[in-house]
Each structure stands twice: as C-alpha cells, then as structure tokens.
C-alpha cells in the first residue's frame, strides 16, 4: 500500500492517489488534493464532498446523475465545481475510493 504525506499527515493511498481509509481525511487534506486537481474549494464544494462521503459511508453506489438528483446540486453545477470528471475528482478530494459505479 502506498503512502503519501498530504497537508503534513501521512495517509494511505492507491496508485492513483485515492485515499484508502476515509477516516484519515481532513478538511486540510481536501484543500491540498483540491490544489493538485486545480480545484479551489468553497463551502459549496464541501457541501457536495460531505454528501458523497456520507453516501459512501452507507455503502451506496453513486453516479454523476445520482449526485445531480440529490437536491444539493444539479449535474451542470457539479461539472462547474469539479470540471472535467466531477465524480472522480470529487471522490479523490473527498478521500473515498475511486467510484465503482462504472461496472
């Protein structure tokens, strides 16, 4: 298992840089990964991140569309916050596994 120091903390990550233990996640880590992904995190970002962390903790699968139907944000807005590949980027910044919904 690879390890990485993010925001001064050693965390376990996959080869692609996804945290393997969501409990190691902090707001500071999110801000740091956000920088690597060229995303400047705002309160709205954190609202979405907390939503997907919560869903992940409940073991529920997620897609861009289900986040878009969550009532927190629509799909266009989700793309606006995490440009390019919103689900993958948001998952990485939220400290959860790479989305497994694409099976």
């Amino acid at each position: 298992m690879a390890q990485k120091i993010i925001a001064g903390v050693t965390v376990d990550v996959t080869e692609e840089g996804y945290l393997t233990n969501p409990a190691q996640w902090t707001k500071e880590i999110a801000l740091e990964i956000g920088k690597e992904e060229n995303v400047q995190l705002t309160d709205k970002h954190f609202e979405v991140l907390n939503f997907i962390r919560d869903r992940f903790a409940k073991n529920e699968t997620m897609t861009i569309r289900s986040v878009g139907n969550s009532g927190i944000i629509d799909i266009k807005g989700f793309y606006g916050l995490f440009p390019g590949a919103p689900m993958k980027k948001a998952a990485k910044i939220a400290g959860i596994s790479k989305p497994a919904s694409c099976v």
């Binding site: 073991n59 529920e60 699968t61 897609t63 861009i64 569309r65 289900s66 139907n69 969550s70 799909i75 266009k76 793309y79 440009p83 390019g84 590949a85 993958k88 497994a100 919904s101 694409c102 099976v103």
Partner: protein, 409 residues
C-alpha cells in the same frame, strides 16, 4: 398456506421460479409470479438484430413456456410494494400478501431523461438497440444507409451488459467492410468512461482492438442533450460530437414501482446487500439481477450466478437459519468482436478480467481476454443454452463463484 411472491418473470424471476419450486412443498407454499409483459425477450440477441443476423422471432418466446407447473402466473402491472404490511398491490387494486418476496423487476432504458433524444430524429437517425423496436428500426435504416458519421453513445452508467456497445461498434465495422462501405463510414465510440471498458486490463485490450478496427474512442463524455437540428451530441462540459446516425444507449433506471415503494435509490435501483442479496430494511425481501443496486454488471450471467446464492439464502431465511450464501460479484461475458471471432471476460467484485483459459483450467475451450473463433461459437451456442438450460434453472458446468484457476496474473 405460506406465500412466496416473485415480481418479474424475466431472466431472474424465471430462473428462481424453476429453482425454488423444486425446494418448496406445494402442500405448504403458494408460489406466484407477476409480470405485465407476456413475451420473454432474449436480450443478448438484440445486438444481432440491427445487422440482420437475428430476426424478431429469434429473440422472443412466451414467458409462460418457461415457468414450471405449480407456479401461478399473473399478468398485471405492479403498483407498489407495501413492505411494512408484507403486501404487493397490483394496478387493479388487488393486494397480495406474502411471507417472502423476490424482486426481479430488472432495469429499463429511459431516453426521456436526456433532452432531445426523443426528438424529431428518433428512430429516423437516432436509434437504440436495447429494445426490439429500436433494434428493428436500425436494421431497416442500415439497409439503405449510404454512410457517414456513425456514433455510438453511452449516456450514463450503469447499463445492461456493458460490453454490448463495444460489440455493436465491432459488428458495425465488420458489417460495413462486408458491404464495401467501410471507407464511407466513420465510427466513433463516445463514452462517459475514461476508456473502452470499466476495468483497467480489459479496457486496455479492448481499447487496442477498437484502435485496430479504426474505431475512435471519445472518452469522459457525459451527455447533456442531443441537438436534432445541428445533429450533434452536447456534453455537460459543452463538447460537441456530430452524427449522421446516432446509436444511443440511453440512461438506465430501475422499475419506478421500486421508487414509489420507498425501497430504491434515486435511479430506482433497489437497495440490497451486495453479498446476501437481502434487503437490509426488510429481511423477507430479496433482490436478484438488474433491479438491485449491486456494484457489478447488469447482465444475465450475473443473474445466473446470483440465483444459486439466492436459492441458498432464501431457504436459510425460510428455515430460520443465518444466511450462508455469499455472492462474490461474479460476471462472465462473451464479447463479439466481428468477422466470426469473439473474446471472453470473467470477473467479480474484487478481481478484474484476466487472461487465461475457461471454464476448465489449462484446457479451455474458451480463451479469456483474447480474440478467438471458439469464443464466438460460445456466444452463438449460448442462445440455445439460455432457452433450454439457463431459464429452466438447470445445472451448468460453471461455478457461481469466480475461480482464479486457469487465470494468469
């Protein structure tokens, strides 16, 4: 009398009716299966219809033919499941009580989720091949099409049989080569995924195959709408892909009844434990196949492997024992690659598709993650196996648990 209700007489419901019928005494149990459609479609066959390889008759048979004696079949729409009352309410208002419930209501394509998809070009220049109507309309269209931009788009994941769109473009390549039109047809594969497939090693192998066949992959494209006037696909990040013929794999959802009954996620897929197949809120409800929110492929092979586990766990639950069956996410897909060849992949929740030989280690006859003629014959033979063995719940020489034997790391 105790009552077992099965919702849906498709692949999962039919297999379960056949299997469980042998285990439950008809002196003690009433088994009822409910569906609103009388025809059973062999859905893997839809892929062959646009290219004239299968006709409508090749892929349809009456559902009633595949259900055993002693199982009551009701054709009626289901309105809601009242899980707290152990009741299913039908559209005509009739309520059916159950002791145990199996939900096998599958998934459906929802083109209306994407603005413009059902516009003026629907079934004129825009087609789906996940319904018999779409596949037949596309077959007619291809008969006289002079060529142009052929675009295959997957609107969103998950979809039924995630390899079918790949097979479609490879069949299209072969079809237009054989018609002498390939130089007039440009084929693009436009997908929300980052590559040809969801799993890294298979994605690499399949991506290379597409490249060899001069099929262009446009990855990370998440469809927002279809502009019928300009004939372009538009993504959420405002990229455009022009088409002359668009073959869409629309957004998939579960049965709206599941959503109405409060048992499902936003996409109407029923919340279910991925190992036990049991609903976590209501332990007398089990789910099989595409209807559930399982993180594995929505495919007939998955249903077939789940059926063994469901059989075991349902009997445990009925007899008041702890559930001993555990589904590992096993999926197994033949992939048609055109020109009489095919590939095969075998994987589960934790292990991605690997090269090797299948089902007998070191022997085969099928080769994993590579093209061969034998793999194509496997797919062709499968239609017979489906109608005569699989639906009837009979044994096949493939274990429901994935094995590493015969696979190369």
């Amino acid at each position: 009398m105790k009552k077992l209700l099965i919702l849906g007489a498709g692949t999962g419901g039919t297999i379960m009716a056949n299997k469980i019928r042998k285990l439950l005494s008809l002196d003690e149990w009433e088994i009822t299966i409910i569906d609103h459609q009388k025809t059973h479609y062999y859905q893997p066959g839809f892929l062959f219809v646009p290219f004239g390889m299968y006709s409508r008759e090749d892929v349809m048979k009456p559902k009633a033919n595949f259900l055993p004696m002693g199982v009551e079949l009701i054709f009626q729409e289901i309105d809601t499941i009242r899980a707290s009352d152990n009741q299913v309410v039908l559209n005509d208002g009739k309520a059916l009580k159950y002791d145990f419930l199996i939900i096998a209501t599958g998934t459906r394509v929802v083109p209306e989720e994407t603005p413009g998809l059902l516009g003026p070009l629907w079934h004129k220049q825009i087609f789906d091949f996940y319904t018999i109507e779409g596949a037949m309309a596309l077959c007619d269209f291809f008969k006289t099409w002079p060529g142009g931009e052929l675009v295959l788009n997957i609107a969103d994941m998950p979809i039924k049989c995630p390899v079918a769109p790949l097979e479609f473009v490879m069949f299209a390549d072969a079809f237009f080569v054989e018609r002498g039109l390939r130089n007039k047809v440009n084929i693009s594969y436009v997908t929300p995924l980052s590559g040809a497939f969801t799993k890294p090693r298979a994605s690499k192998v399949l991506g290379k195959l597409l490249e060899e066949k001069n099929i262009h992959i446009i990855p990370d494209f998440y469809l927002e709408r279809v502009d019928n006037e300009k004939k372009v696909l538009v993504s959420y990040d405002e990229r455009e892909v022009p088409f002359d013929c668009l073959v869409t794999v629309p957004v998939h959802k579960g049965d709206p009844m599941a959503g109405r009954s409060g048992l499902a996620d936003e996409m109407d897929f029923i919340k279910v434990h991925k190992y036990t197949l049991q609903n976590e809120q209501f332990p007398n409800i089990f789910v099989i196949g595409d209807a559930g929110n399982f993180p594995t492929s929505k495919a007939g092979s998955v249903v077939h492997f789940q059926a063994d586990v469901l059989n075991e766990n349902l009997m445990c639950a009925i007899e008041g024992r702890p559930l001993t069956g555990s589904f590992d996410g096993h999926s197994n897909c033949y992939i048609e690659t055109g020109f009489g060849k095919g590939a095969l992949i075998d994987f589960n929740y934790d292990t991605e598709p690997l090269p090797g030989l299948f089902p007998f280690p070191g022997v085969g006859p099928f080769g994993l993650l590579k093209e061969s003629r034998m793999n194509h014959y496997g797919k062709v033979m499968f239609r017979w196996i489906y109608w005569h063995i699989l639906l009837k719940g009979k044994e096949m020489p493939i274990d429901s648990k994935m094995t590493m034997a015969g696979k190369k790391m």
